[in-house]
């Protein structure tokens, strides 16, 4: 039995000196011990910062400095910009990009909001399937809708008459194609924002005798407003920086993205490419900063006390929901269906017999099946390297002791790629990695640089997913581990990683799919031995082999769908084998 000494042992005593000199030496060596433990993690995160700087910041800097240099490399100030302005590029490309992106944003956010409303506020059947169809475009390269639109509304298109004489080659085509491939991005943001509605708010509105219409405007819309803003910024950035759709269907209609391509690939004017890149970087950067600013104001409205909203049975509302969803679903299915059909048609529009001729890529230019296997290798490499890098860095940032300044710098570097259009990143890579003085310029033109570039390009979203997953874990796991004499590494492997497995699978799929479908960054970087499937689509289309281009786009989409199925299977397996500890007995 312990004995207690009430009253005398619990001294309050301020006369004891803080540290006596003799103790100081011992304390110093202990301090050193403690510091090396912390410094190891800080050092690793510094390394992470260095890697991201090398992959994003340094290339961007080279690009910016290129934009104020002439061909010979002398500093010329803003001469290049002045030259671009006087050539009329600003009026056409810059403003074209702005209004096309703006209009696409309006259309996509409107459609996505209607779809999200129908999926979360009505009791339509088969919402799982509907969601599946609505996010299908994410598995396709952005070139696919453009090609499909050519078949649908082009000069020999089946529905050409529907345009009443208007040309699909131009802004109409760009907007339609952009809407197709950016729709899932907006939808997913809005679904996240609207899935977690608090049922109590709706009950309160009903109790206060608000009409459904008034409830919609006072509860539903305010609840989704951050999602709406975020979706708008994301779609705007995606459209204005996209290169695939305007390249295929833009015709003579200039936008910034195609202008960069023309300046660099067509005319070999690298410094002018840099100038247009800076102009493209500006709106993307602004949208990014504005979105960050708005998101910072967002506070969690769905708390532990909220009750999830369950829509009541209401046939009229279900019908309205179906009417809102139908055009979008039909449009998506028509685009994909047209591409699939076109890829099998022997010779459009003269021989409509179905065959596999268009899939014999060996007979066309563009890299053939080799491009496809390159793409697979590149996507797998991106997936493995990217997932490891993203998770390790996010873990360092979230779950190890770090100086606040360092995490701030790292967070900035991780999110920066979100503001950098793929074309701009690709062009920066040329300037940075192809520079004769760069000691690692040997990787230029190899699959490895494509992997590095793609990892950097899609770093930010992966990083956010990883950080969100890591933040959700109990903040005290590491502290408990320390008290139980377990190193952070042991906690990482025995607790953190098993708990983050679903998020890791999500990040892996995201990186794989994007690596398969991306065109914009890699179009400047592939070499003779590292042609990619998505670039092959572009090149075959440019060469007039539009049916094989459709076939290759379908092949990419199918590959991504297969990856999605495999990932879905893995997630199902993980969920099943961890159900016991995830949900308890119920």
């Amino acid at each position: 039995m312990p004995s207690f000494h009430p009253g005398k042992t619990f001294m309050m005593d301020s006369s004891v000196p803080l540290t006596s000199p003799s103790r100081r030496a011992g304390a110093l060596s202990e301090l050193r011990q403690r510091v090396t433990g912390r410094w190891l993690f800080a050092l690793l995160l510094v390394l992470g910062c260095a890697v991201l700087s090398l992959l994003v910041l340094a290339p961007l800097y080279t690009l910016l400095s290129k934009s104020v240099e002439n061909k010979a490399g002398d500093f010329v100030g803003l001469d290049n910009f002045a030259h671009y302005l006087s050539s009329g590029g600003i009026e056409s490309a810059f403003f074209n990009s702005l209004w096309v992106a703006g209009l696409s944003t309006l259309v996509v956010v409107g459609l996505a909001f209607m779809a999200a409303w129908a999926l979360t506020r009505t009791r339509l059947p088969m919402t799982g399937w509907i969601r599946g169809v609505l996010v299908l475009p994410i598995l396709a390269p952005s070139l696919l809708p453009a090609i499909s639109l050519v078949y649908l509304f082009g000069n020999q298109g089946v529905l050409k008459s529907w345009l009443f004489g208007a040309e699909i080659y131009g802004p109409i085509g760009i907007i339609m194609g952009s809407c197709f491939w950016t729709f899932p991005h907006a939808l997913m943001i809005l679904l996240t924002a609207m899935d977690n509605a608090d049922g109590r708010h709706y009950e309160a509105a009903t109790a206060l005798k608000a009409s459904p219409w008034r409830t919609f405007w006072t509860v539903t819309v305010p609840g989704a407003r951050y999602g709406l803003v975020s979706a708008a910024f994301v779609v705007f950035t995606l459209v204005i920086t996209d290169f695939g759709v305007p390249k295929v269907i833009g015709g003579q209609f200039d936008v910034l993205a195609t202008d960069i391509y023309k300046q660099v690939i067509g005319q070999q004017k690298f410094e002018m490419g840099a100038v247009v890149s800076v102009l493209l970087l500006l709106p993307a950067m602004l949208a990014f900063l504005a979105d960050r600013y708005v998101q910072r104001k967002q506070s969690a409205s769905f708390t532990a006390r909220s009750v999830p909203y369950r829509p009541r049975r209401d046939h009229r509302r279900d019908v309205i929901g179906a009417v809102m969803l139908a055009p979008t679903i039909l449009f998506i299915l028509a685009i994909i269906g047209m591409a699939v059909y076109a890829s099998f048609v022997t010779f459009w529009p003269y021989n409509l017999e179905l065959s596999l001729n268009n899939y014999q890529f060996g007979r066309m230019d563009g890299g053939g099946w080799g491009a496809y296997t390159n793409s697979l290798q590149m996507a797998l490499g991106t997936m493995v390297i990217g997932t490891l890098l993203v998770f390790f860095n996010a873990w360092l940032m979230e779950r190890t002791p770090q100086p606040r300044l360092l995490t701030g710098v790292f967070q900035f570097l991780s999110l920066l790629p979100l503001a950098v259009p793929g074309l701009v990143l690709g062009l920066s890579y040329i300037f940075f990695f192809n520079h004769p003085d760069n000691p690692i310029n040997g990787i230029y033109g190899t699959l490895f640089i494509l992997i590095l570039c793609t990892v950097s390009h899609f770093y930010a979203v992966s990083h956010l997913t990883a950080v969100t997953a890591l933040k959700q874990l109990d903040q005290e796991f590491e502290a408990v581990g320390e008290s139980l004499k377990a190193s952070r590494w042991r906690v990482l492997f025995t607790v953190t990683l098993p708990l983050c497995l679903p998020a890791i699978l999500d990040v892996a799929l995201y990186l794989f799919v994007n690596a398969m479908t991306t065109v914009s960054a890699v179009v400047f970087l592939y070499g003779h031995d590292s042609q990619l499937a998505s670039v092959a689509v572009l090149n075959m289309d440019e060469a007039g082999d539009i049916a094989p281009a459709a076939a290759m786009a379908i092949l990419i989409t199918t590959t991504c769908a297969a990856a999605k199925l495999i990932q879905g299977g893995l997630r199902f397996w993980v969920d099943r084998s961890t159900r016991a500890w995830r949900q308890g007995t119920e």
């Binding site: 619990f10 005593d13 109990d474 502290a479 008290s483 607790v495 016991a580």
Partner: protein, 356 residues
């Protein structure tokens, strides 16, 4: 019966903690004897959790030293210190069974498998969870999870047990039950224990000694009885239990003025240039039949709180409002009713006096 090593003695000397300009802890000094259960009690933001985290090494003090037994642990990382900790959230590893959670710390020190098994069985028996050994935390109730966290913290036989608001996530009934269970387990093991809480009832019921904290300083250290009966400051007096306060002025020595009367005090007045504040607990006021007491007043309101009636009385002459707790039987005898007249005494041995 379960064996445990002797709890260790803990000395905190001159600990300060700054977050930027903000001073979270100011010159903290205290000694905790082996086997004691000490509660850090205070409102949120008073620095109690910061102090606990500094003792654990999860937070680094700006200056000051910590000694556990004969060892200076001031600069040691948490892993080199000797403590077990239970957090408010429990932080159980959700992907591991109860057994694996409890065994986690034993495995990190490389204990042989057979001994790990024995030790885990022993601990699960102590906390009464033998039947749940193979379950996952999510399959247990809050109270059961709490016990797993306790067993996990105690498994490596630490000299010091730190509890960070361990009961606040539980509902009232479970909380009361676990309170006495933790206390008896702690006595049985003799492990020195520090518990952080904002619940005064919990602190008074469990602790050998209570450390009342406010704004980063220790206001008072003492047994629960000391803290309640002899609060060292107006803050302690008002934070622990209910208290009536009156502004007053010293007359001389031990006499003070309240309204138009002078009162004698048992304790000497605090030395203060300004006015003083008199204080008395609601249950220490004597209500008397009409015409008997020194003070007269009128009942303003009565709140029935079950075991007692909280009566609000306005004193005539001084126009002071006073809260008095009366048991229902006395209330009946006194014929207390809202609007009725009442007499009362303020016993001088129950009067506290603080600097204003």
């Amino acid at each position: 019966m379960i064996q445990h090593t002797q709890g260790s003695r803990l000395e905190v000397r001159g600990v300060n903690k700054f977050f930027g300009e903000f001073c979270a802890l100011k010159d903290i000094n205290l000694t905790i004897e082996p086997g004691e259960l000490v509660c850090f009690l205070g409102p949120s933001g008073c620095g109690k959790t910061t102090l606990l985290r500094i003792i654990a090494g999860l937070e680094q003090q700006s200056c000051g030293t910590l000694r556990q037994g004969d060892v200076d642990i001031s600069q040691k990382p948490p892993r080199d210190r000797d403590f077990g900790i239970v957090f408010q959230s429990y932080a159980l590893f959700p992907n591991m069974t109860v057994t694996d959670n409890v065994a986690y710390g034993l495995r990190s020190i490389g204990m042989p498998k057979a001994r790990v098994r024995d030790r885990v069985d022993e601990l699960l028996a102590v906390v009464g969870l033998e039947d749940h050994a193979r379950k996952y935390p999510a399959q247990l109730s809050g109270g059961q999870q709490q016990r797993v966290a306790l067993a996990r913290a105690l498994a490596p036989s630490p000299g010091l047990l730190l509890l960070d608001e361990p009961l606040s996530a539980l509902d009232a009934k479970v909380r009361h039950h676990l309170r006495s269970e933790i206390r008896s387990l702690q006595k049985q093991l003799g492990v020195t224990t520090i518990m952080v809480t904002h619940d005064q009832e919990e602190a008074l019921a469990m602790a050998d000694r209570v450390v009342v904290m406010n704004n980063g300083v220790i206001e008072q250290v003492g047994t629960p009885l000391d803290i309640y009966q002899q609060p060292a400051s107006a803050f302690v007096a008002s934070f622990i239990g209910a208290m009536n306060f009156f502004d007053s002025a010293p007359v001389n020595g031990q006499r003070v003025r309240l309204g138009n009367r002078e009162l004698d005090l048992v304790r000497p007045l605090p030395a203060t240039p300004d006015g003083i504040r008199l204080a008395i607990r609601p249950e220490d006021v004597h209500l008397l039949p009409q015409g008997d007491g020194e003070w007269e007043g009128q009942v303003q309101a009565m709140d029935y709180l079950g075991a007692f009636i909280r009566t609000h009385v306005r004193l005539h002459g001084v126009e002071l409002d006073l809260v008095v707790d009366v048991d229902p039987r006395s209330a009946r005898q006194l014929e207390l009713r809202v609007g009725g007249a009442v007499c009362l005494n303020l016993p001088s041995d129950a009067l506290h006096c603080f600097a204003a």
